[in-house]
Symmetry: C2
């Protein structure tokens, strides 16, 4: 039981500071949230405005919209940037598109696919799923037979990058098949955005959901939603019984220049988002995507030098923004995570669900997709494996060498 | 139609920077979002961690919980800090406490009370309301007759500080009456928190909702929810069909030390919240509340010197965190707002709804409850009234004098 003491004056014995020191150095090489580059951190505090009262807020917001739609090749889309974690956008995509008696199908090959499916029940909608091997991408050829099992389904949900296992699903081949069946396609692109090209319209995406804390290298707190005309009309027609999750509450703000956003937005986070998109544009999409490819290649080469097996069966099956490594027999990924965190102050990722203690993950997304960070990650992992008697110093040296070699363009 | 151009390379003619310059100086004296003091801005970027993976996150979160419950005299409450704007918490309080056929009553004497009532229909719940004069607080003596009209109602909703008009409702007298009737009491304390003492348990509050962008002086993005045992049990029993708005998804994180939060939280915003609470504690609650009273008194005296009538009929009816001023006949508050913003870079607030062009509002919340800011606000308002031929230089001087005099303790 906590001690009840209502006195809050200076002389009180109450501890003002939290006991935990959050200022200790830690390098975030987890697959989101990621390390935030200094320029982005500063952009988060560069200005404070009142978005409800600032006549320029509309222009500012729509400047961001314009950059996003260009990057995602989705000019016909509405863009809603919600204030909340990415889960907000995932739930909203179900609530807005499906009425209570309408069915959505989840194409699933991993923990996040399963999560999407569970979300259907939780929010009171009908959901079905088709499941595939979790070490391979969903095979486009088998999607049609799944869809034909559920002709009444209105929408199909899938994860672009299955972050817990590092599997990349080929929405570019699957999307057109889903469209052919007359279904809407909803894609969780939270950890793929800005790591690979996404062509919203070409792939037939109806709702694309992204978040701020992955390759955008911002803190959690913004959910980006790109919504096709078809999905937008469905959401307006459905008119779901919610304010905060509803697309339609954004209608006036998005369509009429004079309207305020439906709630007070965060200028700070939007400043960060704008700056993150500027960084992407200045580096150029070509260079950003090539950098992610090179770093993934370097990461796989380093893993092999240490005798580690990446979870995806082939490199071309994997997300460019992270590497998920299966731990050798007898090695706990949780123990490895803790050892590395305590010894080097580097935070990697572990697995989720039944793979929690079997997988160690390195995030290389946006800013963290760099040789420097990859060297640090494999140096740390290598030294842990030496400690466990699993590899030799020369293996670690070779891993380092592979990173330097493969990262050079 | 927007020009379609997919090239994002450096050589493209695409504008990287938004046209709007958000770095221009502007002093936020609106009644939320407020000016953010430098120390709080810096705390927002002082550290970046992964809350899902950091074993200290639980301690950090619960340190904040502990400070909040002490400040609000509410030791028996659960604290959920949601990642989203305050509207998220307001909607959640309806969704979690009332099933679809259950009734909530709104005690309303203003625009926000009306908003709460509209929210009931929007989220598919039954709502009724009792309405009182918007220039006076809700009279505690008349609450019982309202409640007896709706014996089946399960919960009663009210706004503590009606921010659009500056009216403070006496929850300390109304709360116990509502409890006597066996109803739950839900209070929107978004813009009253940290401007006046709130004793959660003594007032019989079942859910208290606050936001980050008012007297906490943070950006929008956090919704604080203090939930009594009665309300907590009701929400667990109701098990509403939502993930992001549900209280119960926080159950494991709040009750078991080993669990992760239900979604990735924002360490950055929580760092800011922790620092804001530290600032409050170091100044001491007694001094903070006294400062707000003094500033309100100074503001009313200055208003009278300029011949301006505050909207609340008496000072004791008004919120300590803002002053809502009725504009003299023929003076538009929107025009005054724009003139002051353009000439002095000061953002005040205007009215809402039918009072939009009739009311000008000065926020004096937390950091902005200071003599310096109040002098600037009345200097700007005074000069606008001189411009309009409404007051003389000597009236403005007298207003300044009143602020200096009344602010001195």
């Amino acid at each position: 039981m906590e001690e009840k003491d209502n006195s809050l004056s200076k002389s009180s014995s109450f501890q003002v500071e939290n006991k935990v020191d959050l200022t200790t150095h830690s390098l975030l090489l987890s697959p989101g949230p990621t390390e935030i580059p200094r320029e982005l951190l500063l952009s988060l505090i560069k200005d404070v405005r009142n978005p409800d009262l600032d006549p320029y807020f509309y222009d500012f917001y729509h400047g961001i919209h314009s950059k996003l739609t260009r990057i995602l090749n989705s000019w016909g889309y509405k863009t809603i940037i919600m204030l909340g974690e990415a889960m907000l956008g995932l739930e909203a995509s179900i609530i807005n598109l499906l009425k209570e008696n309408e069915l959505g199908i989840v194409l699933s090959n991993g923990f996040f696919g399963e999560g999407f499916y569970n979300l259907f029940r939780l929010v009171g909608r009908k959901g079905e799923k088709c499941i595939w091997d979790e070490r391979e991408p969903i095979p486009p050829d088998e999607v049609e037979s799944c869809l034909s099992e559920y002709p009444e389904a209105k929408a199909v949900y899938m994860i672009h990058c299955e972050t817990p296992t590092g599997i990349m699903n080929p929405i570019e081949s699957i999307g057109p098949k889903i469209n052919k069946f007359g279904k809407m396609l909803i894609v969780d692109a939270v950890s793929s955005l800005l790591t690979v090209p996404i062509k919203g319209e070409e792939y037939g995406i109806d709702v694309l959901i992204a978040g701020s804390q992955k390759a955008l290298n911002l803190p959690p707190g913004l959910t980006i939603n790109l919504i096709s005309e078809k999905a937008w009309n469905a959401s307006i027609e459905n008119n779901p019984k919610t304010f905060y999750l509803s697309y339609s509450i954004w209608k006036d703000f998005i369509e009429k220049r004079e309207e305020m956003p439906p709630y007070t937005h965060s200028i700070n986070m939007l400043s960060g988002l704008d700056e993150a998109l500027n960084r992407f544009i200045v580096e150029s999409e070509e260079n950003v995507y090539k950098r992610h490819e090179k770093i993934r290649e370097a990461s796989w080469a380093a893993a092999l030098s240490l005798g580690l097996e990446p979870f995806p069966k082939e490199m071309r099956y994997s997300c460019p923004g992270l590497t998920a490594l299966l731990m050798p027999k007898g090695i706990s990924s949780i123990e490895a995570f803790n050892w590395i965190r305590n010894k080097y102050g580097i935070t990697l990722g572990i697995g989720l669900g039944k793979l929690k203690d079997k997988i160690l993950r390195i995030g290389h997304m946006g800013y963290t997709a760099s040789i420097d960070f990859l060297l640090l990650a494999y140096f740390a992992i290598g030294n842990y494996l030496i400690e466990k008697g699993n590899v030799k110093y020369s293996d670690v040296s070779q891993a380092m060498e592979m990173i330097i070699k493969k990262s050079n363009i």
